[in-house]
Amino acid sequence: MSGVKTSAPRAFFLVIQRDLRLAFRRPGEWLQPVAFFAIVTLLFPLALDPEPARLRALAPGALWVAALLSSLLAIEFLYRDDGRDGTLEQFALSGQSFASLLFAKTVAHWFLTGVPLAIAAPIAALALGAPPHSLSGVLLALLLGSVSLSLIGAIGAGLTLGIRRGGALLSLLVLPLSIPTLVFGARATELAIAGASGAELAAPLYLLGALAVLGVTLAPLAAAAAVRISLE
């Protein structure tokens, strides 16, 4: 230890770098939620009558429910390993802002789960019969929505950290909070698939953006408080 304090932005980016590097050494962990997302969307045409018009009407709901479930599946691992090996305690003792370091972890987590999900969603939408010109809208909706989902999930993951078999409880805590994101996200996707553009499509996207901004502002503080309590 040289005794020189790392600046806050640098610490933030170091944590992101570390988490991304760790994740790329074990690609299975962040590929699984995307595979899960693909399988769930695949189940809808199989379980229902695969008539194109009906599938297209169903696509927004199917995409968003699948995205919500897959982000829930992934969020369980957000703090788990670092909680077990004591990394989170070192974060808390590091003298850096705890909320900022945990927020960096959430950002890395979003890169690893939210972005692949947003990239996979247009492909799945295409498979469910969405017209090609709607795909940018679908991508944008998932990209904005997954920010809120990751941030809400971070609070839930912090609260259930260290609880044995916390998975079912995590879904009970996270899903009710995710409902506004689901509502506006599915609305945006529905409008995009129906061929809307301009202001009509922008309205739910703006609301998704507003939820994301609200999440970035408040969720890291709540998540840090939750993790700190779990570490006590």
């Binding site: 609260l159 409880l169 009970l172 805590l173 409902i179 939750a226 309590i229």
Partner: protein, 247 residues
């Protein structure tokens, strides 16, 4: 300014004694108000010209729905007080609110559904207010679930408090959902700021029941909180003295 009178409530023995003294003063008026309100609402009030006698379920539905939101607010405030100033009694109060709130939410949902069947022709409609109200029930369940999942009382208190504060975003959404969305559920018929749209024989019993239910909640909540304080302080010496004086 002298805040000692307020600080005393943070002391479990003081709170225990104070709550024990105040509960009868809440419980008896609550019983009288609820009986009077029910008599007024179910017997004296005239039948509605459109809904007949079916509207009378509002005398249970509306106060329950109002309480389920108010209890969540009380719970979140108590949780915040407990979290910020580390007051254990506040956590005991928040813990006592959750089951009562969940029950009132359940009563609100069931009475609403019973009313909806003859009036709307369906027990359930995917309407914003109904959905967010159901979500409120899930918040109560999540709160109790998180609390029971953590063995250590202090940790459970603090984690549940964070959840209660985060979940408080749902309260204004439920409250304003009928105004924000063009919803099937009618807007509130009673407001402090405007003249009531129904005759006095209809709304006076409703007001009595509002007040009665609210007092009932505080009486039950304080009784539960006393038990909760006893459970948490079970090693304390003051308990023996407190229990002996009441006997």
């Amino acid at each position: 300014m002298n805040w000692v009178w307020l600080h005393r409530f943070g002391s479990p023995p003081y709170f225990y004694r104070w709550a024990g003294r105040i509960v009868p003063w809440l419980a008896w008026p609550a019983a009288l108000l609820i009986l009077a309100g029910l008599y007024g609402g179910l017997v004296l009030a005239p039948a509605d010209y459109q809904q007949g006698d079916g509207y009378r379920i509002i005398y249970v539905h509306v106060p329950s729905a109002w309480l389920s939101l108010m209890i969540y607010t009380v719970m979140a405030l108590a949780a915040a007080v407990g979290l910020i100033w580390r007051i254990k009694v506040a956590h005991a109060v928040a813990a006592s609110c959750a089951p009562i709130g969940a029950w009132f939410t359940g009563v609100g949902l069931v009475t609403g559904m019973l009313w909806g069947q003859p009036m709307w022709g369906t027990y359930w409609e995917w309407d914003p207010r109904l959905v967010f109200y159901l979500v409120l029930l899930f918040f109560y369940m999540g709160y109790s679930g998180l609390r029971s999942a953590i063995d250590d009382t202090t940790r459970a208190d603090r984690a549940a408090a964070v959840l209660a504060i985060v979940g408080a975003v749902n309260v204004p959404i439920v409250h304003y959902s009928v105004i924000w969305w063009n919803s099937l559920h009618q807007p509130p018929s009673l407001a402090l700021t405007s003249k009531p749209t129904m005759p006095a024989s209809m709304y006076v019993p409703l007001l009595l029941l509002f007040l009665g239910f609210t007092l009932f909640f505080y009486a039950v909540m304080l009784t539960r909180a006393r038990a909760e304080v006893l459970r948490r302080e079970r090693g304390g010496n003051w308990i023996r003295a407190a229990l002996e004086t009441t006997r």
